[in-house]
């Protein structure tokens, strides 16, 4: 497959793994965070960590769109879904995220009209087909997904569609990364930067990481060779005493991002003063809401939502997993009470989540050698 097979070549993979080995300083422990859940998924799926020496540790970051949604937001979505005449639409994994009293899937089983969609445009189509119903789209995701929601809202406005609204839970990637860098219990040596978020925002927003925190960042693609090469590029920076933002994913990511996407996002969204992240708590200016010009399409204004903050279940350690403080298998309920079939925490829901990715692909990890 074009754009895929070229980046899964086992011979090249072995060569890059050899280069990584040669770049590792004996006795030094390297902690590299992959910010994006897509990378976490690829790392476990392709066994990339098995190709690394044991002193190169990959820490899984908060970049899984589903995993960072707090229980209170799920409850708000369910409350809207139960309103008379509402068709509630959302992406697939979001259906299974537990709220304080069940998931959207449970609410659907209880009679609410909740439908899975693949894009906000699908939700808009449902609104056109059902003019006598209120159609709400539960918008989640980072800057990768936000432009799609923004364009759909512009379309809804242009077509004077009045029975469509959005419950906006979009988040931005830079504030949680900064929060992690400020976290006293986490020492990181470098970052594998998010590839598809950067397609939209570009590489520039990550320049604060080397400038303010002295850590290298390499924006990376998602194929095995992309990730291996990015790790080699980070280690090369560390070996040379450099720290800067490099772009390994140049075939897709322009350094400036997609300016049209940034423009449409600026028109449709504005930053919330603060937004709650699962496991990370409230982070300033990290969530998006609809701008004043689109406020009439805001589902939270159109319907009453509880808006109550719900504490995570005590047994669940998603917060520590999302901060990279513990590994998925170190959680008390991993693989026992919490499985992809019956998740307690969000990290077990989406296959981008570190727990589900490890559960699905990484449970049979082999011993690795320390250099």
């Amino acid at each position: 497959m074009r754009f895929v097979d070229e980046f899964r070549d086992p011979e090249l993979g072995r060569a890059v793994a050899g280069e990584i080995l040669s770049l590792v300083e004996p006795g030094r422990h390297y902690k590299l965070m992959e910010v994006c859940g897509g990378h976490t998924h690829s790392i476990y799926k392709y066994g990339i960590d098995d190709l690394l020496p044991a002193n190169v540790e990959l820490v899984h970051g908060p970049g899984c769109p589903v995993c960072v949604i707090p229980m209170g937001r799920v409850d708000d979505g369910i409350a809207i879904a139960h309103e008379d005449g509402v068709i509630f639409t959302c992406f697939g994994d979001m259906m299974r995220v537990p709220g304080s009293n069940g998931s959207l899937l449970d609410a659907k089983a209880a009679g609410a009209d909740i439908r899975m969609v693949y894009s906000p445009l699908d939700a808009l189509r449902i609104a056109k087909q059902n003019p006598d119903r209120e159609v709400v789209f539960f918008a989640i995701g980072f800057e990768t997904t936000a432009p799609s929601t923004a364009l759909t809202l512009k379309r809804a406005r242009a077509e004077h569609l009045e029975n469509f609204s959005v419950m906006c839970s979009h988040v931005t990637i830079v504030p949680p990364v900064r929060a992690l860098l400020e976290s006293p219990d986490l020492r990181l040596d470098g970052f594998i930067g998010p590839g598809h978020v950067s397609t939209v925002v570009g590489a520039r927003p990550f320049e604060f990481i080397p400038a303010d925190y002295g850590r290298p960042v390499v924006i990376s693609g998602f194929e095995p060779l992309d990730i291996l090469q990015s790790i080699a590029m980070i280690l090369r920076q560390l070996a040379a005493g450099r720290c800067e933002v490099e772009n390994q994913y140049k075939r897709v990511v322009p350094y400036e991002g997609n300016l049209r996407a940034l423009e449409v996002m600026a028109e449709v969204f504005e930053l919330r003063p603060h937004f709650e992240w699962r496991g990370l708590g409230f982070i300033s200016h990290s969530g998006l809401k609809l701008s004043e010009a689109y406020a009439d399409l805001d589902a939270e204004a159109r319907f009453s939502v509880p808006g109550v903050r719900v504490a995570d279940p005590k047994a669940c350690q998603c917060g520590e997993v999302l901060k990279g403080v513990i590994k998925p298998w170190e959680c008390k309920v991993f693989g026992t009470a919490c499985t992809p079939e019956r998740p307690i925490g969000t990290c077990m829901v989406s296959s981008e989540g570190a727990c589900a990715a490890y559960y699905n692909f990484g449970r049979f990890a082999r011993e690795r050698e320390v250099v």
Binding site: Y118, P120, H196, T199
Partner: protein
């Protein structure tokens, strides 16, 4: 349900996962700002092209949540 959409099933939700999928433009609807695109597996979808216009049949786009985010060039 198309093959690509089956990927959105119980195991891996490509939309939730911030995944971009390469798709080839088959037909362009200039009036509506949409293009009919096909994935490598033949799955077809209507894709919003406002962020990467102009597009033409044969172009390869990186698509996420029904929106093309970038144009994919030839692999160097």
């Amino acid at each position: 349900m198309s093959a690509a959409r089956e990927d959105c099933g119980s195991h891996h939700c490509i939309t939730c996962g911030d995944d971009g999928v390469p798709m080839t433009v088959m037909r362009v609807d200039l009036d509506r700002g949409l293009a009919l695109c096909a994935g490598e597996d033949g799955a077809k979808a209507s894709v919003e092209t406002a962020l990467v216009e102009p597009v033409a049949p044969g172009d390869t786009l990186l698509v996420h949540a029904g929106t093309a985010l970038a144009r994919l060039g030839p692999v160097a």
